[in-house]
C-alpha cells in the first residue's frame, strides 16, 4: 500500500497544477459543469446558396444546407470542432491550417461554410441550437463573416 500511496501522490501532484488532466491521470472532470451553454463547429456545403444569404444565422431544425461529413476526409470531428472553437487568434497560418486539415484538393469546385453551433437551455423545457456562419472556405481563398467584428477573430486579421 506504500507504493500505491506514493503513486497516488505522484498522481495528485501531476493532476493538481494541470486542471485535473495529466494523461493517463485524471480526476475525470468532463461533464462536471452541467447546464452551461455549449459551442461546437460544423461545416455546411453552401455551394448553391445565394451570396446574399450566405452569412445568415439559422436554427438547426430550419437548416437549409447539407452538412459536410468531416469523417469522409479522415478528420476527427471533435478535433475539428475544438480547433475552430478554441482558436482565439485567427492568424493567416491558423486559417491555412483549417483548410489544410481536409487536404489540399478537398474543396475543389465547392464552397464550405465553417459554422459555430451554439446550444443553450431556453425557458423551462427546451434547448435552442443556433448555427452561426463563421469562415467561408473556397478553393482559392477564405472569407471571414462580415457581420462579425475583428475581435470575434482575435483582432489579428
Amino acid at each position: 500500500m506504500k507504493v500505491i500511496g506514493a503513486s497516488l501522490l505522484v498522481y495528485a501532484l501531476l493532476v493538481a497544477p494541470h486542471e485535473g488532466e495529466f494523461w493517463p491521470f485524471s480526476i475525470y472532470p468532463m461533464f462536471s459543469q452541467a447546464g452551461n451553454p455549449w459551442t461546437r463547429a460544423m461545416i455546411l456545403d453552401v455551394t448553391s446558396k445565394p451570396d446574399a444569404e450566405l452569412w445568415e444565422r439559422q436554427l438547426l431544425d430550419k437548416r437549409d444546407s447539407d452538412v459536410v461529413a468531416v469523417s469522409d476526409y479522415g478528420v476527427d470531428q471533435i478535433d475539428f470542432s475544438n480547433f475552430v472553437v478554441k482558436t482565439r487568434d485567427w492568424t493567416p497560418s491558423r486559417l491555412s491550417a483549417l483548410k489544410e486539415m481536409f487536404g489540399t484538393s478537398a474543396i475543389s469546385g465547392e464552397r464550405w461554410m465553417v459554422t459555430k453551433v451554439r446550444g443553450e437551455l431556453v425557458g423551462r423545457d427546451s434547448v435552442s441550437i443556433e448555427i452561426s456562419p463563421y469562415i467561408l472556405l473556397t478553393p482559392d481563398s477564405t472569407y471571414l463573416n462580415p457581420n462579425l467584428s475583428e475581435s470575434d477573430y482575435g483582432g489579428q486579421n
Binding site: 500505491i4 494523461w23 493517463p24 485524471s26 472532470p29 461545416i43 452538412v67 476527427d76 472553437v85 478554441k86
Partner: protein, 296 residues
C-alpha cells in the same frame, strides 16, 4: 490491522497462492494491454503526422515541450516504432525492469502530440493507467507472484478511485442539481452536432427519444449513472467487485446510447479486471505452461 491494510488485503490478496489460471490470465491481460498500447501508439502517430498542423491545446508535457516537432519528420511514427519494440521486449521480459516506465513516458508524449488539437478523450485512460501499473509493478515488485497481484490490484484501485472522483467532480462543479434531466438534453444536443459533423446526418435512438420527451426519464438516467460513479470505490472489495463492475459496464452502455461516446478498450478492461477469471481458467488448466513461467 489498519483500514488501509484491510483495503490492501482486498486488492492484493497476499495470502492466496498463485495458480496456473492466474498466471495464464495475467499474461493474457498483459497481452491485451500491450496490444492496445501498440494500436494507440500507431493510430495516434499516423494521425499526428497526417493531420496535426498547430498546437491548439497543450496537455501534460506539451505545456513544457513543443510537441509540434512530432507533426513532421516522421517523429510520431518513429515514437510508435519505439513504443512497439520496447512493449514487446517488456512483455517477453527481455531487457530491463524499468522499460515499461519508458513505454509510459513515450505513450504520454504520443498522446499529448496527437491530442494537442483541443479534444481531451478519456476512453484510452485505462490502458495508460494499466501501463503505469505495469511500470511501477515491474520496478518495485519484480517477483513472479507479487507483480501480477500488484498490477491487477493497483489497476482496480485506480479504476475505483477514478469513478468516485468523477462523482465528486460533478458534485463540486454543479451541486446536487447535476442530475436535472435538462442537462442531459443539452448534452444530447451537443453530441448530436458532433455526430452530424462526423457523418452528415443524425437521428435520435430509442433511449435519446425517451429522454428528450421527459425530464423525469432524463433525470433518472443521470441519477443512476451518478450513483454508479459514487459506488465505484466498492470495486476495491472482493465481494462487491463483480456487481460494481456490472453496474459500471451498464453505465458505459447508457453513456454510449445517450451521448454516443464509446469506450471500447475501457469497457473490455473493466470486464477483464472486474471478474475473477482465474477461477474459471483453473478448472481447465492444471499446470502453468513453462513458457509463461519464463516470461512472468
Amino acid at each position: 490491522m489498519t483500514w488501509y491494510e484491510k483495503i490492501g488485503n482486498q486488492l492484493f490478496e497476499p495470502g492466496r497462492d498463485q495458480t496456473p489460471g492466474e498466471v495464464v490470465f495475467f499474461k493474457l491481460f498483459e497481452l491485451f494491454v500491450v496490444f492496445y498500447t501498440i494500436k494507440f501508439a500507431w493510430e495516434w502517430g499516423i494521425y499526428t503526422e497526417m493531420r496535426n498542423i498547430e498546437v491548439v491545446l497543450p496537455l501534460g508535457l506539451a505545456k513544457y515541450i513543443d510537441v509540434s516537432v512530432f507533426f513532421d519528420n516522421q517523429l510520431a511514427v518513429i515514437n510508435a516504432a519505439f513504443i512497439t519494440l520496447i512493449s514487446i521486449m517488456s512483455y517477453l521480459r527481455l531487457g530491463y525492469k524499468w522499460q515499461y516506465m519508458v513505454v509510459m513516458v513515450l505513450l504520454h508524449v504520443q498522446y499529448v502530440a496527437r491530442f494537442s488539437q483541443g479534444e481531451i478523450p478519456h476512453s484510452q485512460n485505462l490502458i495508460g493507467m494499466a501501463v503505469f501499473c505495469f511500470a511501477v509493478g515491474a520496478i518495485f515488485f519484480p517477483d513472479k507472484k507479487k507483480m501480477p497481484r500488484f498490477v491487477i490490484g493497483s489497476i482496480i484501485f485506480f479504476i475505483g478511485l477514478g469513478y468516485t472522483s468523477a462523482f465528486f467532480a460533478k458534485l463540486v462543479g454543479t451541486g446536487l442539481s447535476w442530475f436535472d434531466g435538462r442537462h442531459l438534453w443539452l448534452w444530447i444536443g451537443e453530441k448530436s452536432i458532433d455526430i452530424l459533423s462526423r457523418e452528415g446526418l443524425w437521428a435520435p435512438n430509442f433511449l435519446q427519444s425517451l429522454a428528450l420527451q421527459s425530464t423525469i426519464v432524463a433525470s433518472i438516467i443521470l441519477l443512476i449513472g451518478w450513483f454508479t460513479e459514487l459506488i465505484g470505490f466498492t470495486m476495491w472489495f472482493k465481494k462487491f467487485r463483480p456487481f460494481t463492475t456490472l453496474m459500471l459496464i451498464g453505465m458505459h452502455f447508457g453513456i454510449t446510447m445517450t451521448m454516443n461516446i464509446r469506450f471500447d478498450a475501457f469497457v473490455m478492461q473493466l470486464i477483464l479486471v472486474g471478474f475473477p477469471w482465474y477461477i474459471l481458467l483453473d478448472r481447465y488448466i492444471k499446470t502453468t505452461p513453462p513458457l509463461l513461467k519464463r516470461i512472468l
